[in-house]
């Protein structure tokens, strides 16, 4: 009896030692991979930051209006966001590779799924960023054109354009991520259709006078008989 217990304990101890002996090298390899990953990620971050500063990306981002959106979200400058993102993506990739070295079957499956999903996440972020930049640029262009033409609802026009492009960008992002595809497309169609119908009805019913004034102004010229503005040159 006593011998059986001792034998059991000995076997358990042997198994434990064997497991530790087998696990420890893997664990050490994982730590080394993560540490190397950290160094590589830092290196990538500094290289990318230097390249982006050379290419004056922050200026382009300011011009496109993307920096304004980042500031609104309390995020740093564009070059900093991208270099930090590269750091985390790189290090995260190394962490996943390191974890896969441990050889835990269920973990490996999850890691491989995550790795497959990563490119889609990056593309989705790019789509969202481009959408925001385009929305800002076009809404600003529309605002300037409407203000300089003397339209009274310039801000509404600008916001409508920004809103529609944002919806489009968010829909495309969710579509890329594969999240509730059918629901997203249906929701987009409903929101977009409703917005357009609403605008059409609003202009049709509420804008009769505006349309009449617009046509009168362009077909008949100013009623006051006054010159609108002096010749600039």
């Amino acid at each position: 009896m006593r011998e059986t217990i001792l034998q059991g304990l000995e076997q358990a101890y042997g198994n434990f030692v064997h497991m530790v002996a087998e696990f420890l090298p893997h664990f050490l390899v994982m730590l080394i991979i993560i540490a190397v990953g950290l160094l590589v990620a830092f290196l990538f971050k500094y290289i990318l930051r230097a390249v982006l500063q050379l290419t004056k990306l922050d200026r382009v981002s300011e011009e496109a209006g993307a920096s304004r959106v980042l500031r609104m979200a309390h995020l740093p400058a564009m070059s900093e966001v991208l270099s930090r993102s590269l750091f985390w993506v790189t290090w995260f990739g190394f962490i996943l590779v390191g974890l896969s070295v441990l050889g835990v079957a269920s973990l490996q499956e999850q890691i491989s799924r995550l790795l497959q999903f990563l490119p889609e996440v990056i593309v989705a972020i790019l789509i969202l960023f481009l959408g925001i930049a385009i929305a800002n640029f076009l809404s600003r262009a529309a605002l300037l054109a409407a203000v300089n033409a003397g339209y009274s609802s310039a801000r509404i026009v600008s916001w409508a354009i920004r809103f529609v492009i944002w919806i489009l960008a968010v829909t495309m992002t969710l579509e890329e991520l594969g999240l509730a595809r059918q629901t997203v497309i249906a929701a987009f169609s409903i929101v977009f259709g409703a917005t357009m119908l609403g605008l059409a009805i609003a202009f049709g019913l509420g804008g009769q006078d505006l349309a009449r004034r617009f046509l009168e102004k362009h077909l008949e010229g100013p009623k006051t008989g006054k010159d609108e503005e002096p010749q600039p040159l």
């Binding site: 922050d58 200026r59 300011e62 011009e63 496109a64 209006g65 920096s67 304004r68 500031r71 740093p76 400058a77 900093e80 640029f137 600003r140 262009a141 605002l143 300037l144 054109a145 409407a146 203000v147 300089n148 003397g150 009274s152 310039a154 801000r155 100013p222 006051t224 008989g225 006054k226 010159d227 609108e228 503005e229 002096p230 010749q231 600039p232 040159l233």
Partner: protein, 430 residues
Amino acid sequence: MAEETFLSDDLLRQLVSVGEVDLLVGISSHDAVKTVGQVLRAIEQSFQQHFVRQRVVIVLLDGGEEREDTVIETIPETSEEKKVRVPGITSLRTIHRVTANFSTPPTAGIALRTILAVADLLRARACAVVSSSSSNLTADAIGNLLRPVYQEKFDFVAPLYTRHKYQGLLMRNLLYPVSRAVFGCGIREVFPAEWGFSGRLATYCLNTNVWHEEAIRAQPEAWMAITANCTDYRCCQVFLGEKSPPRKGSPGTDIVEVLRQTVGTLFWCIETQQQLWMDRDKLQPVPTFGPAYQLTSEPTDMDRHRIFEMFRSGVTDLEPILSSILDPETHAEIKRMVSLEEGKFRFKSDLWVRTLYDFAASYHHAVLNRDHIVQALAPLYRGMTHSFLVEHADSSPAEIEAANEMLCSEFEIQKPYLREKWKAKVEVKS
């Protein structure tokens, strides 16, 4: 030679048959088909009256479907033109006419580059570019553009015009004061419709690597004027008489389009020619032949209220854009002005100067898309216009000239402000 690469074979063939010339006048026919015949006759009369012995050529740039021969044939000579013609005087030389045909209307930059290349190839000593829409242009005026170059050895001849006191406010309140303060350029019309230049300057400009730039494609004349004035070429101004009004519907009547073409180009010149102005404070004097200014004041009825309303709504609606462009203090002052009643509103000259310098610095730092920066100036320009119309409703030409001189001085005094803003780092908050 570089120019041989872009001149067409047909044009080169015509140039070979012309040979070297003394005088050259370039004109684009596509932008004003109705008046081009009239302007061409004025050029020919000028050659017949003022340059009888010189070898001359007219370079016609045609980009439309209607060819110049058709255009000229279809426009009969008016009785006024018949009166102007001096009987018995005719050129001793053939008045050559060459046509550069383009499939589409050439931009102002392409048109000027072609004229410069032709001038360089034909070794022209004195050249002029005239606008086909300048229906008021006379033979004497064209002679006045060519003579200072041909006889007095000037390199750039800018025009001066008779204008109504409310015409040309962009020139008077923005383009001239800014170019004078920044570059020390004493040329009043930095965006002339017609101007003269020497073959020497033509060759220099032709060989400068700027022709691919968007600003030069759209409006190259300011760059040429500023380059001539700042690089020791001899410049002068001549009085040409009444300026032809822009045609209805042309870009010259649309303030935003005019701002994009002129202020955009001026800001581009400031941006790309820093070495010419950063350490320069001296005004380059420009000799003037004829009166320096001539203003008329027939009664006109401007819609001041609408101009003020467009200023007010523009400043309010563009607040987020203006806050990115203007210094916070300048922006706050402009917002305070918006709340004033129309009768009490005045755009003070020091504020106008700071506003423009903020715009120029923001253009340099590209805080927004550069075209958007220039467009955002339109409401503020309208505010300045309203202020001018109210302040100078009863002013005499001399009083307006004195006010313009004070505005120019204000721009010169505040130039250190531009330098400071120019060198400041763009704040990208993290």
